[in-house]
């Protein structure tokens, strides 16, 4: 125990002296939080939309107003005689609505009228959002003009159970916590481990009777402390800037975070004990870390979208469990009953990483 402590104290002293690691621990994570927090917006807003109105009646005007009233679309001025195709080609607009000359005439005559809609399909997902948006707005317009039958056979009454305001930051920012607090603690831990190998100081450790467990635990403990500091900064800052507050019992989140940080440093230890230079360590940690915590964690894309056998990977990605915990803490607020398994899984994964690292260091001797 005393040796773990002295290992830990030494690591902290070294950490304090190194500007690069200090930046890695505090400045970069915070910067990443801001970039992710502000830049990632999945909801489509302010889509440039051109409306060519050949009808020019009150009715067509009202239809156009409805389209723009949603905030989803923003108007783009376009000469009525110019071909709307050019606007799409030049990416001046993502969608064009063309109202035919006999629009109001047909509606008033209770005949079907056809409004032409052109949507830029380059981004398939966005195209679908635009298409649905236009359809929904058109429906709303028809309802307001009493153009729909009075009685619907089925009426869906939707209520958003969590996050009623559909505040996007509530899902993006906690996800960012998971990514940032995965990558940086493990990066620091891996560098600390590899640096000893590169400088040759690891021989001193081998020559003492310090065991692999003591070495790993001592180093991990030091970077765990650093990671907790990092978490306070990132989460505190995130909560203030993006206005997060707990939706329910915060204990699963607090405990989960502490364990998650431990798992992250352990992951760094595992990589650090297996590679032999800083370059390899940085690449391995950031590449693996980014890919898994960003793409295979359910942060951006729903896990259910991942096809088999890739879909098996998220089961061993701690960030995936942590994202579940954060979403529960800030959005759902259900508490322990919903996320206890995630907390347990994160802890189990830390044990796996620890064991791999321990095996890699083996008998604390030079390999051939």
């Amino acid at each position: 125990m005393k040796r773990i402590l002295s290992q830990c104290i030494k690591e902290l002293a070294q950490f304090r002296r190194d500007r690069l690691t200090l930046a890695l621990a505090f400045i970069l994570p915070f910067a990443t939080l801001l970039i992710f927090g502000f830049a990632i917006r999945l909801e489509a807003k302010d889509i440039p939309l051109i409306v060519q109105d050949f009808d020019r009646t009150n009715l067509s005007n009202r239809y156009i107003e409805t389209l723009y009233a949603t905030n989803q679309f923003k108007p783009v001025a376009w000469d009525i005689n110019a071909s709307p195709q050019i606007a799409l080609d030049r990416s001046l607009a993502k969608a064009v609505v063309i109202i035919p000359p006999n629009f109001s005439q047909h509606i008033n005559g209770e005949k079907q009228t056809e409004v032409q809609v052109l949507v830029d399909g380059t981004d398939a997902n966005n195209a679908r959002v635009i298409k649905n948006g236009l359809k929904a707005t058109t429906n709303a317009f028809m309802r307001s003009q009493s153009l729909l039958p009075k009685t619907n056979p089925i009426a869906t009454l939707t209520r958003l159970w969590f996050n009623p305001g559909r505040k996007e930051s509530l899902s993006i920012v906690p996800g960012t916590f998971a990514v940032v607090l995965w990558i940086f603690p493990s990066l620091l831990a891996a560098i600390a481990m590899v640096r000893e190998k590169e400088k040759g100081t690891i021989l001193q450790v081998y020559a003492s009777s310090l065991s692999a467990e003591e070495l790993i635990l001592g180093k991990a403990a030091a970077y765990w402390v650093v990671a907790i500091g990092m978490a306070l900064l990132v989460m505190g800052g995130g909560a203030v800037i993006f206005g997060l507050s707990f939706a329910g019992d915060p204990t699963p989140f607090l405990l989960g975070t502490i364990i998650y940080l431990w798992t992250s440093t352990m992951f760094g230890m595992m990589i650090g004990s297996r590679v032999s230079n800083q370059n390899a360590a940085v690449q391995a940690v950031s590449l693996v870390g980014f890919l898994t915590s960003f793409l295979l964690s359910g942060f951006i894309y729903p896990l259910s979208n991942i096809p088999f056998p890739l879909s098996l990977i998220p089961n061993v990605v701690p960030a995936r469990y942590f994202i579940e915990i954060t979403r529960d803490a800030f959005v759902r607020g259900v508490g322990w009953s919903s996320v206890w398994l995630s907390v347990v899984m994160i802890f189990l994964l830390s044990m796996v990483f620890f064991n791999v690292a321990r095996k890699a260091l083996g008998r604390m001797q030079l390999s051939e």
Binding site: K199, G200, S209
Partner: protein, 652 residues
């Protein structure tokens, strides 16, 4: 100190048939040795002899492939807590302070708080580091770093110290202090196993093992090794070095001549002979026949270097000397060979408020080898950088190859070769790619590149391995390739900044033969080195202390300029005698060499009786005293010490 032959106590380290294989390559071939308590046991050998592997295994950080190793009755791994191990690279955390390094080391070895505090102050005191505990290790000089590393190894109070080349890259003054500490520790009963490339240091060991290609070829005390060799050394001084060498080398080919080896130094030739009295007559005869005059011919002990080189030669491992394929005529053939090649007057360099170089005057002629000697940070490298135009001087006049302006001009650079302290080769290129690159940089004509590159490869013994990545070469080999790369364009002026650091003695000899060959062809050579034994190879030398050249001259002149006399004392308790005398005399005047004591006395006729008196008062018996010649190291240390204490001397 214990003498194992007399008491034969149980050995603390016993190695039988130790073998280590790396894949197909066998690094250590079944070596046997024993180390006794309180002994300083030296392991010397060329690069790649298997010394570091042996240390790794003794230190318990690597598994042996075969053999039995017993340390304090245990396998090495289980004995780790009783071992202190200084690895070849600095075994310190450079970003931690002295105190933090010590505390960490104590924590690793579970040293109780109270004992730690006692030992810390004791050892820091011993090493002279006690007042700067919060300084970062990275800010210490090379010598201080190694002393601190030793402190870290000592806080756990190990019974055995393993030191793998602890003084490589450390300046002579610090090295001597380091060895004084080792002697003091051995006297307290600590057992020390040490590897070193400095053979003058190895002479301070109680017993020495010569290791070569994974085998130990000989073990014994310095005296035993010398007498086993069965040779004696003649120091021959003459004005006609080159001619004399040629004739003696020819004579050495004849087995009946009794001449075993001829080695040329800056102003003398060493001849190894079987029988000093008989063969010195013979040597005189041979030279008289050729009408060569001998200034003096003295008989001396063989050095450990002689033993080492002769033994390795017998193993047939001497690197080949191959004549440099020269295209331009040597400068000695042309007129004005004795022109000044490198000149400096009142050269000064100031970095901020720090004066790195103070009023340096130098004059080096074509065909001359000039050695610039000094401790780390004395300003040697800065001076070289200024002289070859890499750095602007703050003030002063300079002359380089007949020019005093535009020293970075391409035409002048073409005539200069520069080998810097740090490796100048690209680690991720193969050997031959590196050489091709330098051929291109220096504009070696395409059609003769192959000849030059082949010469470098052959000289380095790398023929057939030219595709090897340079990064994989051992340090000593890299240095040789780097040297080759810096001379391929046949420079007239050669700057060598510590060319032989980390190079083993045999390869160092080859290095110096090459350097000598260049000098004889008229190249001016400016060289810095930490190995004072090899500084003897220089024609002239300058000692730098704190940015000033405080002493200049040929090796003999420099030694003769030393005031006082070096006295070798044989006493019954060497360590106590040393402690006592250090109390009465200035500390630098006294040092221990194996079982003997070296003392510098200004006036031996007057001072020696009182020294013997002081010893007698403490019941230390003096067996014998004799005056011995100063080595360059002695001169160096006393010059540095005297300068630092404010009394400067000048020889010329």
């Amino acid at each position: 100190m214990n003498s194992p032959e007399i008491n034969s106590p149980a050995p603390v380290i016993q190695v039988v048939g130790l073998t280590k294989n790396y894949g197909n390559f066998t690094a250590v071939h079944g070596i046997d040795f024993e180390v006794y308590p309180g002994e300083i046991f030296g392991l010397i050998g060329p690069d790649g002899a298997g010394k570091t592997t042996t240390f790794h295994i003794l230190g318990g950080v690597m598994e042996a492939s075969g053999g039995a190793i017993d340390i304090l009755g245990k396998p090495p791994r289980n004995a780790r807590l009783s071992l202190g191990y200084l690895t070849q690279q600095f075994s310190l955390y450079l970003d931690l302070s002295i105190d933090e390094n010590l505390t960490y080391s104590a924590g690793l070895h579970q040293v109780p708080e109270l004992e730690f505090n006692q030992r810390r102050s004791k050892y820091l005191q011993l090493m002279g580091l006690n007042s700067i505990g919060d300084r970062l290790a990275g800010q210490l000089s090379g010598g201080m770093k190694q002393k601190l590393a030793l402190c870290c190894a000592l806080v756990s109070q190990p019974q055995i110290l393993l030191l793998d080349e602890p003084t490589t890259g450390v300046d002579p003054v610090s090295r001597r202090e380091f060895w004084d500490v080792l002697a003091a520790l051995a006297d307290e009963g600590m057992t020390i196993v040490v590897a070193t490339p400095y053979l003058d240091e190895a002479e301070r060991c109680n017993r020495i093992a010569l290791m070569y290609e994974g085998k130990i070829s000989e073990i014994g005390t310095l005296k035993q090794l010398r007498s086993n060799l069965g040779l004696q050394r003649l120091e021959l001084r003459t004005k006609e070095l080159v001619e004399t060498e040629k004739i003696l080398l020819a004579a050495a080919q004849d087995k009946t001549s009794g001449i075993a080896d001829v080695q040329t130094f800056g102003d003398r030739i060493d001849v190894l002979v079987r029988d000093a009295t008989r063969d010195s007559v013979k040597v005189r005869e041979i030279l008289n026949k050729q009408h060569l005059t001998i200034t003096s011919l003295e008989t001396s002990d063989v050095t450990l270097e002689n033993v080492f080189v002769t033994r390795l030669r017998q193993q047939g491992s001497e690197p080949a000397f191959i004549e440099f394929p020269r295209l331009k005529p040597g400068r000695s053939a042309s007129v004005g060979a004795s022109d000044v090649a490198i000149g400096a007057r009142n050269l000064r360099k100031v970095f901020g408020s720090f004066q790195a170089v103070k009023n340096v005057d130098l004059e080096i002629r074509y065909g001359e080898i000039y050695g610039l000697l000094g401790a780390n940070g004395a300003g040697k490298t800065t001076t070289i950088k200024i002289l070859c135009g890499l750095l602007e001087a703050s003030s002063g006049e300079m002359l380089l190859g007949g020019r005093s302006q535009n020293l970075r001009d391409a035409s002048i650079r073409q005539r200069i070769g520069y080998m810097s302290q740090k490796f100048t080769l690209y680690d991720d290129l193969s050997v031959v790619e590196n050489l091709e690159f330098y051929c291109g940089v220096y504009g070696v004509p395409q059609k003769i590149r192959r000849t030059k590159i082949d010469w470098v490869l052959e000289t380095c013994g790398l023929t057939g391995q030219e595709k090897m990545l340079t990064g994989k070469l051992p340090g000593g080999w890299k240095q040789r390739v780097a040297f080759g790369a810096s001379v391929m364009h046949e420079p007239e002026i050669l700057f060598l900044d510590e060319p032989t650091s980390g190079v083993d003695p045999l390869a160092r000899r080859q290095f110096w033969r090459l350097i000598n060959d260049f000098a004889r062809q008229g190249t001016a050579v400016l060289v810095t080195t930490h190995y004072l034994e090899e500084a003897e190879q220089c024609n002239r030398m300058g000692f730098m202390v704190a940015g000033e050249v405080v002493l200049q001259g040929s090796p003999s002149e420099v030694k003769a300029s030393q005031p006082g006399q070096l006295i070798e004392l044989k006493v019954d308790r060497t360590q106590q005698a040393s402690n006592l005398l250090k109390h009465h005399l200035e500390v630098w005047r006294v040092s221990i060499f194996g079982d003997r004591l070296h003392v510098v006395l200004d006036d031996p006729d007057h001072d020696l009786p009182s020294v013997v008196d002081i010893l007698a008062q403490s019941k230390i018996q003096t067996y014998s005293t004799r005056p011995i010649p100063f080595s360059l190291e002695d001169v160096f240390i006393s010059v540095v010490q005297r300068t630092e204490s404010g009394t400067s001397h000048s020889a010329t």
